[in-house]
């Protein structure tokens, strides 16, 4: 049984690592975040399967922790966006990384 779990874990891990290619090639930051998102959930699944051979309870704790914190990349990114509206590159590559010319930063409250 553990053999099968290991194989499935490896397969999911490979899928997730291929998803990382999207991080490398992804034109926009959204793609990168999606790939990190896939890495989060896929990583948790692969972890569960790979870790079940060692100690499932500890692996579940780790998976629980990763699930909680996986969103932090997206949270911090979007929150960061609020402070720096011009720095986000969409899927369609904008001509140049927009150097925002407006002096009056809207973000401060």
């Amino acid at each position: 049984m553990t053999g099968f779990l290991l194989i499935a874990g490896v397969f999911i891990l490979l899928t997730v690592l291929l998803g990382l290619v999207r991080v490398l090639r992804g034109p926009g930051d959204a793609e990168r975040l999606m790939a990190v998102q896939l890495l989060g959930t896929g990583g948790v699944a692969a972890l569960l399967l790979l870790g079940s051979a060692i100690d499932l309870t500890a692996t579940t704790d780790l998976a629980l922790l990763l699930a909680l914190l996986a969103a932090f990349a997206a949270i911090a990114f979007v929150a960061g966006l609020g402070a720096n509206p011009g720095a986000f590159t969409a899927a369609r590559p904008v001509s140049a990384p927009s150097s925002h010319s407006n002096g009056d930063s809207p973000a401060g409250d």
Binding site: M1, F4, L5, A8, F11, I12, T15, V16, L18, G19, V21, R22, G28, A30, E31, L33, M34, A35, Q37, L38, T41, G42, V44, A45, L48, L49, S52, L56, T57, T60, D61, A63, L64, A67, L68, A70, A71, A74, I75, F77, V78, L81, G82, P85, G86, F88, A90, A91, R92, V94, S95, S98, H100, S101, N102, P106, D109
Partner: protein
């Protein structure tokens, strides 16, 4: 091959399939939003199936309860962060479509520039 192992094998392989589908969606789909849709649906489901598959392996009661809790958190967090990302993509799409001057002009994207009078 006891019944539990068969149950695990079936569900885990289903889960793996959905992960693969999520990855294909991420790579194949044309624009950001559809990719996001495919991705968040597929991998949450994938994780759900893997967790269900592992339920018989876990020790009752705490192991299984933790696995279920894990899946619940993953689904909720996955949904919310997909929402976050969609909001960000919309904000950026609206911003670049309005004259390409990011951040300038009054009708800039909602949300990003709303000078929210939150208490300091």
């Amino acid at each position: 091959m006891s019944l539990a192992d068969a149950f695990t094998a079936v569900f885990v392989s289903l889960g793996a399939f959905f992960f693969f589908a999520g990855w294909v969606g991420l790579v194949r789909f044309p624009d950001a939003l559809s990719r996001l849709h495919a991705l968040s649906k597929a991998d949450n489901l994938g994780l759900g199936l893997v967790v269900i598959g592992l339920l018989p392996q876990a020790s009752w009661p705490f192991g299984t309860l933790k696995l279920i809790a894990l899946w619940l958190v993953a689904v909720l967090v996955g949904g919310a962060s997909a929402q976050l990302l969609a909001g960000a993509i919309h904000a950026q799409a609206a911003e670049t479509s309005t004259g390409g001057e990011p951040g300038r002009g009054t009708e800039a994207a909602p949300g990003a520039n709303g000078n929210d009078k939150a208490t300091s």
